[in-house]
């Protein structure tokens, strides 16, 4: 990573941009376990964190890394881990713990092809459903993505902000192309960044209930060591944080875990839209594929084809309403993905099957090209 002297322009990989974003978001703890194509995130933070009093630890495995991140987060630190598919699978149990105990943290999954070891160095987008459903039990979760190093930088910050605001693990799903492409990143003046820090209790310890049922459904967890002695558990628990076996308390907790995300869709959802106003066909694309989709829009518009593009920044909660709205004004969706149609099914569901959803799959480890997308758009029109 080299910096231009006068301005804050850098050349960096998506993985490095992620590390930079984390630091500016206030992340001071990273626990990880190396895995291609995510390792540069760890490697960058191994160099940078100690310089700013942060802590970097390479744990014995991904499960331990996820556990350490949660432990650190409970002391009030902003904490993160990064991995790829196999490690993401291993982290699932503890990600569920973070959901249940409502511990803010960020998990980066740089996807590879799969299942299993699959194609460790080739791009894919095969973990998008896993990011939503990978852990057992009912819960909701926020999942972001990014299509460039610049967006990776920004969305890493966003991920931390969401984690802190909603007291929840947030997943950042990248792909190998975004992670490993070195490109221009403009780092803004840190002062100009919106940084969210979790709420602190406003009541004295005697009155404090960590999981108090509030209007916004979000708990306030005091950092360990600040005089608020409470209990954190992965068992169903009540407002005090102690385990419960009472049906009402169980129900209220499980529903709240989903509600606290669902209810704030308005704040969470973010889409980047291009030329959708008059479009007949809408491309739905994310990650590196969105880049190709942008080119495809340009190509097709050049040919007079009315095509637009929606790029969700937040994959989950899925932008149901927006897709539904768009459905009203278009004739078809085209959904190119480096998987076998994992998000296309969501588009179909959100569009209430009112228009055709054309799927473009690529699972051979090669990126989807602008031409491929343009071809399908032409076919569809």
């Amino acid at each position: 990573m080299t910096r231009k002297q006068s301005q804050s322009i850098f050349m960096m990989q998506g993985n490095q941009a992620c590390a930079e974003g984390a630091i500016l978001a206030g992340c001071r703890f990273f626990a990880g376990y190396p895995i291609t194509p995510s390792s540069e995130i760890a490697e960058t933070l191994a160099v940078k964190l100690p310089r700013i009093d942060g802590k970097f630890i390479q744990m014995e495995d991904e499960i331990g890394a996820m556990g350490a991140v949660i432990g650190a987060a409970l002391t009030g630190m902003k904490a993160m881990t990064a991995t790829s598919g196999p490690g993401f699978s291993l982290k699932q149990e503890n990600i569920g713990y973070a959901c249940m105990a409502e511990v803010p943290c960020v998990i980066v999954d740089v996807q590879r092809g799969g299942p299993s070891t699959g194609t460790p160095t080739l791009p894919a987008q095969m973990d998008v459903q896993q990011a939503r459903w990978g852990t057992h039990g009912d819960h909701s979760i926020i999942v972001l993505t990014a299509s460039s190093a610049q967006e990776t930088f920004q969305n890493t910050i966003l991920a931390f902000n969401f984690a802190e605001r909603y007291m929840t693990p947030v997943i950042l799903l990248l792909d190998e192309i975004v992670a490993h492409t070195t490109e221009r990143v403009v780092l803004p003046d840190p002062e100009t960044l919106e940084i969210v820090n979790r709420k602190q209790p406003a009541v004295p310890p005697e009155e404090y209930l960590p999981y108090r049922r509030t209007d916004d459904c979000i708990p306030i967890l005091a950092p360990f060591g600040t005089g608020y002695r409470y209990n954190v558990t992965g068992l169903c628990h009540n407002e005090t944080g102690f385990p419960t076996n009472t049906s009402q308390e169980i129900e209220s907790q499980i529903i709240r875990l989903t509600e606290k995300i669902e209810r704030h869709r308005g704040d969470i959802e973010r889409n980047r839209e291009i030329l959708l106003e008059d479009a007949d066909v809408a491309i739905f694309a994310y990650g590196a594929v969105a880049r190709s989709a942008r080119s495809a829009v340009r190509i097709c518009r050049g040919e007079g084809i009315k095509v637009g593009l929606i790029e969700p920044v937040v994959l989950w909660p899925f932008p149901e309403e927006r897709i539904c709205e768009i459905t009203g004004s278009i004739k078809a969706f085209v959904v190119p993905e480096m998987n076998l149609g994992q998000m296309a099914r969501e588009v179909r569901l959100a569009s209430r099957c009112a228009v055709d959803v054309h799927e473009l799959h690529r699972v051979d480890g090669e990126p989807i090209t602008p031409t491929q997308i343009a071809d399908m758009v032409r076919e569809v029109v």
Partner: protein, 182 residues
Amino acid sequence: MDRYELRLSGSGGQGLILAGKILAEAVVIYDQRNAVQTQSYGPEARGGASKAEVVISDGEIDYPKATNLDLLLSLTQESCRKYSCDLKKGGILIIDSKAVTEIPEGEYKLYRAPISDIAVESVGKAVVTNIVALGILTKIAGVVSEEAVRKAILAKVPRGTEELNMKAFDAGLKTGEELLAS
């Protein structure tokens, strides 16, 4: 310029990834235009053919991979065989004439020079082959300023090796000039 695609290819350990990174940084940081750089990872990167790609443009670069090459640099026979088919008509092929003996067919401009020999001759070390190649390419492609590349090299090579690398770069520039002239 709309889009200019380069691929630097050879075998793992020849420093082509670094060369690609230097080139991209020269364009972006010092020439203040746009470039993206990618590379091959994986088993390929260990031992076998290795490649670094740079796409240069004045606008946004959506698709980051080089598929329709304006310029291909090949330092090994294997990489030349593998990648020359991606050269666009009228593109530029630069080869290390010692390593690549079997020249692929196609409509392109061919430049050959004993690149690694030049490295050894100019500074006594084959490790700077990548920088010599960068010099040649800078001259021949004409898409990045010499000054920018020079600065980028200085910013990226290990401390203490700056002079060595400048010499190598100069040797490359000179070779490039000769090739253009010939």
